[in-house]
């Protein structure tokens, strides 16, 4: 199964992924229309930087999600069929336990600051919006096996060069 996997050194910090994520979660799902209609959709991916490394990060949809374990209202559920960790905003009571539990800081607030907002992996799309938007390929939707194979190959090259 494909996952969203990230290569921080490719990230230029342009925030196109954030913009695309917000647009995908707008009513019109179209940049110009969302801006013109003054919608205020929010992004669920966040680009953080320490000045050297840029890290685009969204919910990792953990197999054993700390957020779900912490959630007492049942708003956060892991769907065994899709493997997605989904948030039901109607059930969320805004206790922010999941925010504290998630080790990655992947959970944000909705614009009204009442309930949580998180990555839903763009259920209407074959390719998540952020992965399509990224011009450098820092955020990719790929098979884990392929990603790790590429990593091994890269390591092989640098290993060979060092020799």
């Amino acid at each position: 199964m494909k996952q969203i996997l990230i290569t921080p050194k490719l990230c230029l910090g342009c925030r196109s992924c954030e913009l695309a994520c917000a647009v995908e979660h707008s009513l019109s799902k179209e940049l110009f229309a969302a801006v013109i209609k003054k919608e205020q959709p929010t992004a669920r991916i966040f680009v953080e930087t320490d000045g050297v490394i840029n890290l685009p990060l969204q919910c990792r949809h953990c197999q054993d999600p700390a957020c779900v374990n912490a959630c007492m209202s049942g708003a956060l559920q892991r769907k065994p069929t899709t493997g997605m960790v989904v948030a039901d905003q109607n059930k969320c009571v805004g206790c922010w336990m999941c925010v504290m539990a998630c080790p990655f800081g992947a959970i944000a607030q909705d614009p009204e600051y009442k309930v949580i907002n998180k990555c839903d992996r763009c259920p209407d799309l074959d390719q998540p919006a952020c992965t399509v938007a990224c011009p450098t390929g820092a955020v990719k939707f790929v098979e884990v096996s392929r990603f790790s194979q590429e990593r091994r190959k890269q390591y092989l090259t640098s290993f060979a060069e060092e020799e």
Binding site: S16, A20, A22, V23, S26, V35, K38, Q40, P41
Partner: protein, 632 residues
């Protein structure tokens, strides 16, 4: 059928299959590789005007301000003004070259002549020069002097504008404080105004944008056309052909591309002079074809056939038949050298400010223009000899076209109907509703739009509704390739009222049939001719330009020049359609002003619509509103 998604031009479709099969990248491939394009840039809300940036505004949340505190409105307005200054600078620089040539003709320093003395005298009188008892060189010298004041004068109202703009407009512009001084000063000021920490007021920035539009209109377009007419002659109706089929495998093919006719006219002369050398090299002669507005300039005055418009320039090279492409400035894709390397042909750059890696550079100067043109044409013959077994694929596509409709030529045709009062038949037919109104389609191709589709679909709809269309630039090329610059299109596609009028005028003018439904008025700087026509029509009807049942459209705009021309049109009071939005949608204030509020101030406004049928409906609605207001 992927190629039909990219262009409606049949020749281009054939060539795209060839470049795809050969793995040669074109503008369409690079556009695909650029996807997705940055949303911040598309909305105009990124700024890199200082080294504390780049900054970008989040349209959906924080941050709402750049490092310095500039918000989306400021950033969008600043960026737009810089673009307008860029487009304006291009046209003013073009005009500068022509004025310099006129000045040197006057002093006898160069091998150019004055071909249209009448236009020289008319221009001189209009800008307030006494011509009696002076020889043409003397007059030319004074005209050049006046023109230089318009270009670089530092005080007072711009001379070329004062001489030509309708009084009503001048009053409106004066009230808004947007009448420019010398062009150079205004362009410089726009760069200053948009630099970090100067103007933050979107309204003030937009007014400065209107001023750039006026600089473009009078010190760019109008001045360039006037001086070029004086030097190269007034365009008169010519017959020619358009599209890649005008290339001929048995000839040495020279393509002139860019915008300025100073060199291309000389190249043309030398192609004629060196015909025998080409024959000695085994060719049947030298065939010249044009691309973009250099192509339009030599089409209008010499009947040189246009090979293609902006998006087709690489495809012309992919035919393998272009032995040499000589370029001057503007709209030259840096990729032409790659494509030429993959197929055949030399690329020759000529201007100090426009070099392309991989091209040969033969520097152009007015003093040695003949030697340089000769050298270029000789090189094309050498290149022809090297063509050898390069496969040549010239699509068998060419459409018959009529061009050369300067205002003077149009009035000439109309005076065959009514010699004393040439505008009367036109105005009477507008009043009677046989002609609903007029629309000028201008400007570029843009890879975001299927090539020529917007131009052609929009215009077909307009002429079917009895709207007379005049065209310039790559729009005219698009319409020419699609057969719309030909009398057959009047018979087959025009509404009955329009058809009757065009037939009456065409027959009176001795064409033996109707005029085409689209009149080709020239290059992008020749948009000034459209301004002249509107000024004359409004004057004749005793109304203001903003009250006329007319509109302008850049259906597929690409260049900054399209924005500055459009701004000039809006400043004249013209309703101006754009087939896609400029990078301004990130500011509601700027977008709202340009597409709505500005109408109260100037009478014109921008109208953005990318669907051709809807755009035609919107334009026709506007024309009908204006007719209604005039009581027609």
């Amino acid at each position: 059928m992927w190629e039909t998604d990219k262009t409606i031009d049949k020749a281009a479709q054939q060539m795209l299959k060839i470049t795809a099969a050969d793995g040669v990248a074109t503008v369409w491939d690079r556009y695909e590789a650029q996807q997705p394009q940055c949303g911040f840039g598309s909305l105009g809300i990124c700024c890199r005007n200082c080294l504390q940036g780049p900054c970008r505004i989040n349209p959906f949340g924080e941050p709402k301000r750049g490092v310095c505190g500039a918000d989306a409105d400021t950033i969008v307005a600043r960026n737009l003004l810089r673009s307008l200054a860029g487009g304006t600078a291009a046209h003013v620089d073009h005009a500068y070259e022509a004025v310099e040539a006129l000045e040197k003709i006057a002093t006898g320093d160069i091998d150019y002549v004055i071909k249209d003395e009448n236009k020289l005298i008319a221009t001189a009188r209009q800008v307030g020069i006494e011509t009696d008892g002076k020889d043409s060189k003397g007059v030319a010298k004074e005209v050049a002097q006046k023109a230089l004041e318009t270009l670089s004068g530092h005080e007072g109202e711009m001379g070329w504008l004062s001489a030509w703009a309708p009084k009503e407009r001048v009053d409106v512009w004066r009230q808004l404080g947007v009448i420019p001084r010398g062009a150079d000063r205004e362009i410089r000021e726009a760069m200053h105004q948009t630099s970090m920490g100067v103007d933050a007021d979107p309204t003030n920035l937009l007014l400065a944008g209107v001023k750039q539009g006026l600089v473009d209109g009078y010190a760019g377009l109008k001045l360039a056309t006037d001086i070029q007419d004086i030097i190269f002659g007034m365009p008169q109706p010519v017959k020619s052909e358009a599209n890649l089929g005008v290339l001929n495998a048995e000839y040495v093919n020279v393509v002139v591309h860019g915008h300025v006719p100073l060199l291309s006219e000389k190249v043309l002369e030398w192609c004629r002079k060196l015909e025998d050398e080409a024959k000695a090299a085994g060719a049947r002669g030298i065939n010249v074809a044009g691309i973009c507005c250099t192509g339009n300039e030599v089409l209008m005055r010499q009947g040189v056939p246009p090979a293609t418009n902006f998006l087709g320039q690489e495809l012309a090279l992919a035919t393998g038949a272009v032995d040499l492409m000589v370029v001057d400035v503007q709209c030259i894709l840096p990729s032409v050298t790659n494509v030429a390397q993959c197929y055949h042909g030399d690329i020759v750059t000529t201007m100090p400010i426009a070099k392309v890696p991989g091209a040969d550079h033969i520097p152009f100067s007015l003093e040695e223009a003949d030697q340089q043109a000769e050298k270029i044409v000789r090189q094309s013959i050498e290149s022809y000899k090297k063509r050898g077994s390069t496969p040549v694929h010239i699509p068998d596509e060419r459409a018959l076209i009529f061009a050369g409709f300067s205002v003077e030529a149009i009035i000439g045709a109309l005076s065959k109907v009514n010699a004393e009062d040439p505008l009367k038949p036109l105005v009477d037919n507008i009043k009677a509703g046989n002609i609903l109104g007029a629309v000028a389609t201008v400007g570029c191709n843009n890879v975001k739009v299927k090539q020529d589709m917007m131009h052609v679909e929009l215009v077909k709809e307009l002429i079917a509704n009895n709207v007379l269309v005049i065209a310039t630039g790559c729009s005219a090329h698009a319409l020419g390739k699609a057969g719309l610059l030909h009398p057959d299109a009047t018979n087959n596609l025009a509404g009955n009222g329009l058809k009757a009028v065009l037939t009456a005028v065409g027959e009176a003018a001795g064409l033996g049939g109707p005029l085409p439904p689209v009149l080709h008025m020239g290059s992008c700087v020749d948009n000034s001719r459209i301004g002249d026509l509107l000024t004359a029509l409004a004057g004749y009807m005793g109304v203001n330009i903003k009250d006329l049942p007319v509109a302008a459209s850049a259906p597929e705009p690409q260049h900054e020049k399209a924005l500055s021309i459009g701004t000039w049109a809006v400043a004249l009071g013209v309703f101006t359609h754009l087939g896609l939005p400029p990078h301004i949608l990130g500011s509601k204030a700027v977008t709202g002003t340009l597409t709505d509020k500005v109408e109260d101030l100037l009478g014109g406004k921008f109208y953005v619509e990318s669907d051709p049928a809807k755009a035609a409906a919107g334009i026709i609605r506007h024309i009908k509103d204006k007719r209604h207001a005039l009581g027609l």
